[in-house]
């Protein structure tokens, strides 16, 4: 259940138009800014202005460059950060929800469960019960290793689970953010 996202067939990008490295460098700046402040709101106009790209082209360019739409990327960073806080701190789950950028505890709990397969509370308990030895790896890379790999949209994943199928992955490649 927990790793189900990873079971989705990988869609290999073929014949993607090669993007100008100068554009990619500017798109990377938007990605970096989301990384640095994933708790903040990142509407397309804000991201587009960081990258110096028109709003109309930003989401498509970002997805071509990084393989997923900007707001799904932001979601992975928020889950990653809330996971770290669940493991490494004693902060109440409500506080973690708001600290990591969710508008409500309900949205946080539901999204966290959809992405990771368990509730925030269950995740915290399971993690505490296991030993870990990642102290030698820089903390940011440890966190990155725990970033969810969201190949499909969360809404798509919900639908697949409701249908009991996992065949809708081709739709994910055409999905608009």
């Amino acid at each position: 259940m927990k790793r189900q996202i990873l079971d989705s067939p990988l869609t290999q990008p073929t014949d993607l138009p090669s993007q100008d490295p100068r554009l990619l460098r500017r798109l990377l700046r938007a990605k970096d800014r989301m990384d640095a402040a994933s708790d903040e709101a990142w509407p397309v106009e804000r991201l587009a202005s960081v990258s110096g790209v028109s709003q109309a082209h930003f989401a498509r360019s970002f997805k071509d460059a990084f393989g997923l739409p900007p707001h799904r990327y932001l979601l992975t960073r928020r889950i990653e950060r809330s996971t770290a806080l669940l493991r490494d701190t004693d902060l109440p789950i409500t506080e973690i929800a708001f600290t990591t950028g969710w508008g409500s505890l309900g949205t946080f709990g539901r999204t966290f469960r959809d992405v990771t397969g368990e509730s925030p509370g269950a995740h915290r308990e399971r993690w505490r019960a296991t030993q870990h030895s990642l102290a030698l790896v820089p903390a940011c890379h440890v966190q990155a290793a725990h970033r969810p790999d969201l190949i499909t949209a969360v809404s798509e994943k919900r639908r697949q689970e409701a249908d009991g199928t996992k065949e809708a992955s081709t739709k994910a490649t055409k999905e608009v953010p």
Binding site: S18, P21, R25, D35, A36, P138
Partner: protein
Amino acid sequence: MNQGIEVVGVYVDNQDEALEFYVGKLGFRVHTDVRNGDYRWLTVQHPEQPSFQLGLFVPGAPMQDAATAQQLRALVAKGAMPPLVLAVSDCRAMHAQWAAKGVEFTQEPVERYGSVDAGFRDPAGNGWKLIQSRG
């Protein structure tokens, strides 16, 4: 002779710009800068680490064909190259000094378990971690 790793290179999109960044902003020193036609072998050194050279290389002829070079440039610009780590004695001071010089920081200094780290990128897109170890 001493045995060990002597040169490790990163790809950059523009060697003049990279030189200005690593030497002009970060305070590295040029170790070797030689040209042969369009090819330029450029390495820099951390001032406190004379046995190691960081190569600043541009993708392209004669090492790569044009399509491969374009892919490498794209990978660097997307930040897809491996992480680089610079050990410093005072992360916050280094951050303040380099930010004032216009270094593009991607992460402000953060203390974690007693060590302090920050993140920045070179103009090409290579990502560095600036780490001040505990103690």
